[in-house]
Subunit: 346 residues, 2 copies
């Protein structure tokens, strides 16, 4: 890579000092119009571009935010990142994207490296198994703006942008029950992860509210990928669980169970109502999931970014507050039309 032109290079060509060049390029009134014109001309001629690294050093502003996601090659993550990117960009910020791959140590390393890079704030979706919060405590003490999205750690003093998993799960399962289902199994996430815990809680609340006693044997805790769904469903069958509906914690889990059904006994696909969080990313063409809670990825990203930038720009304080982004409850009917189901506020 060639050495890039600097203020000094322009200065020498014009017998001026770099300070004058700096001022000229930023239209500072100290400099005469004639000089400004010459300076800008030379700047263009030799392809001068300001070195933002150097500028950052004095201004201590990098116009940069760090993003940490557990995965990127998934529809939902990609949507969120798109939402973040767009909002940040509209405010003149650029994002540095890192992926933890569901690994808490990598997550921590990325955060440290982003802080070292002097990002002005962090947007983090914590990995499944994160338990150590030391780094987050340090971030809070340093008052580095941070907003969690999708997956968060409570009581740490940060804002989080999430969907109301508990309520959405409760409403959705409630709808299943009202439609006649009684034996609803649940392929759940881990209890120590917010989405796992809250979706299960909503599930149990819905059952109880309709006078059905939750049966722990009908719930299987596990990972949130397709494999876990495949294995989880087989485990349900091994336990001799009878069911008329299956609530999967995520789309991939549901997909895994769907594959298992097709393999074992395709008639189950018609007999068992499928409900899952998240969608396939393509609408109106896939028969599954029959019922699903749509997670508005872009909107989550946008809101998280907005909250963060408000904090960076000093228009807001961190608050340990959960910001809920509304979800929609959708049904794919027999001719693959997708329609929203309005749930009456109970």
């Amino acid at each position: 890579m060639k050495k890039k032109a600097t203020l000094n290079d322009i200065a020498q060509r014009l017998n001026l000092t770099k300070v004058s060049i700096s001022k000229a390029l930023r239209d500072h009134p100290d400099i005469s119009e004639a000089t400004k014109k010459k300076v800008k001309e030379i700047a263009r001629e030799i392809g001068y571009r300001p070195n933002l690294i150097a500028r950052s050093l004095t201004s201590s502003k990098t116009q940069t935010i760090g993003v940490v996601v557990p995965k990127i090659a998934h529809t939902f993550s990609a949507q969120v990142v798109a939402g973040i990117q767009r909002y940040a960009n509209s405010k003149g910020f650029v994002i540095v994207l890192t992926v933890s791959d569901e690994n808490p140590e990598l997550e921590k390393k990325h955060i440290e490296s982003l802080v070292s890079m002097q990002v002005e704030g962090l947007l983090v979706s914590v990995s499944m198994t994160t338990k150590e919060t030391e780094i987050y405590n340090w971030i809070r003490e340093m008052q580095i703006p941070l907003v969690f999205f999708d997956r968060y750690i409570p009581d740490l003093g940060f804002n989080s942008v999430v969907i109301d998993d508990r309520k959405a799960a409760k409403d959705a399962v409630g709808h299943l029950i009202k439609s006649g289902c009684r034996k609803i199994a649940h392929l759940a996430g881990y209890n120590h992860v917010s989405i796992g815990r809250q979706r299960r809680q909503g599930y149990e609340e819905a059952l109880l509210e309709h006078g059905i006693q939750p049966d722990p044997r009908m719930v299987i805790e596990g990972e949130v990928g397709e494999d876990a769904g495949y294995r989880g469903f087989k485990e349900l069958l091994a336990r001799n669980i009878e069911m008329d509906a299956l609530f999967s914690v995520t789309f991939p889990v549901g997909l895994g169970s769907y594959v298992a059904m097709r393999e074992i006994d395709p008639s189950m696909i018609d007999r068992i109502e499928m409900l899952a969080f998240g969608d396939s990313g393509i609408r109106g063409i896939v028969p599954y999931p029959h019922y699903y809670v749509e997670q508005p990825g872009k909107e989550i990203g946008r809101k998280a970014a907005k909250l963060l930038l408000d904090e960076i720009e000093g228009n807001a304080k961190p608050e340990d507050r959960l910001v809920y982004v509304p979800t929609r409850f959708l049904e794919t009917d027999s001719d693959l039309q997708v329609t929203e189901i309005e749930l009456d506020e109970s």
Copy 2:
């Protein structure tokens, strides 16, 4: 945000100079073991983290690469970014992600801003309508490492990592013909965009090779989204085109035509063989596309990142070379099993 601890802060606490601290933390032999120990202790105690911005200024290395994609909320882009991210990360680099939204001016702005940020290299997938190459000429003159991926501009002196669109299209369409199709329509991309041009070229070559005269009326040029597919298919019908197969330039275009078919006459779905580039992102559950050319996003990302980092580390020269990543040709059969079709090298 609180002021972060600096070398000077440590130095004052120990009555040393910042240089000694810098050396101590980097295990420079100038410093005694006893001092190093003390320095490191204080550093940990006050939560010192090196300021990479300052370090970059002296080293002129940022360990950062800039990525420009036209979209991010699409399976393929997300896959590519995942591949890039993973490889870059394994080499200690971090990525700055920007999205051009298919807008050439935004693309140019992003590139300029990334260069100003002193990224050590660029990975770019050009937007559909990019025609102005001035910025790329400048990048070449400055010898800033750049690798195109997926969509590239030829003859500019940069490496590009792509799939062999022409050959893959030719092979796939050839397979359709061998399976008995004669009237194959094509919803194409624009001719001035590499993927559009080359996929169409492959399509025409396959026809000619099997003695079928390409009919321009059976080809519709346009955008590469679902809308374009929907409108394009209707346009084919409006032209009274009869077809037994339809080759769509991208998955979303095919999806759009699929939706149009379902709307107008669902029996077309069975009568017309569907072929498209790209997949739905979920396998074994969607009946469409029947035949598809799988684009190995992660592998494209990985290879592009590798090429770029080799260049950054001085182990390779830019060459105006096309690196082809192999594609697979897949078929979804009636019970939704996906199998690869081996094509005999002709």
